[in-house]
Assembly symmetry: C2
Homo-oligomer: 82 residues x 2
């Protein structure tokens, strides 16, 4: 079976996010002063061929831990798309 | 009121995603051969101060159209976090 999995990788909440700060400045320059905070991360969609959802989830977790996210600076969340 | 909004910006489905292809190669090298396709985009969280949800949504849409997403190559989806 093929599963579609979304992985969100974001900078840890305790860390500064310079890219987000730059985007926030840009949005304020566009007049969108109601926006108070911006954080920018990665969004990765995977198509996984696996026997069942548990196996697909394990594969997605391994991928996130070993390659997609840097645990020192980032956290990740995995979500299945129906 | 403060609203938390998530914007997902992904490469259009019809376009090649070289970054995704590179990640797919890396995952296969790690032995995760069950993963068939990878697409990489951006995930942006905004904290928006607005009178109501409709105003916050409009602000997020303006931000996505004017700065965050390039409509020629990317599409975006906006989601409210409770």
């Amino acid at each position: 079976m093929t599963f579609q999995v979304q992985i969100k990788v974001m900078p840890l909440n305790d860390l500064l996010d310079p890219q987000g700060k730059a985007v926030l400045g840009g949005l304020h320059n566009l007049g969108l002063t109601g926006i108070q905070d911006v954080r920018v991360g990665k969004h990765i969609t995977l198509k996984i061929d696996a026997a069942n959802e548990a196996a697909a989830k394990e594969m997605a977790e391994t991928a996130a831990k070993k390659l997609l996210a840097n645990a020192v600076m980032e956290f990740f969340e995995i979500e299945f798309v129906q």
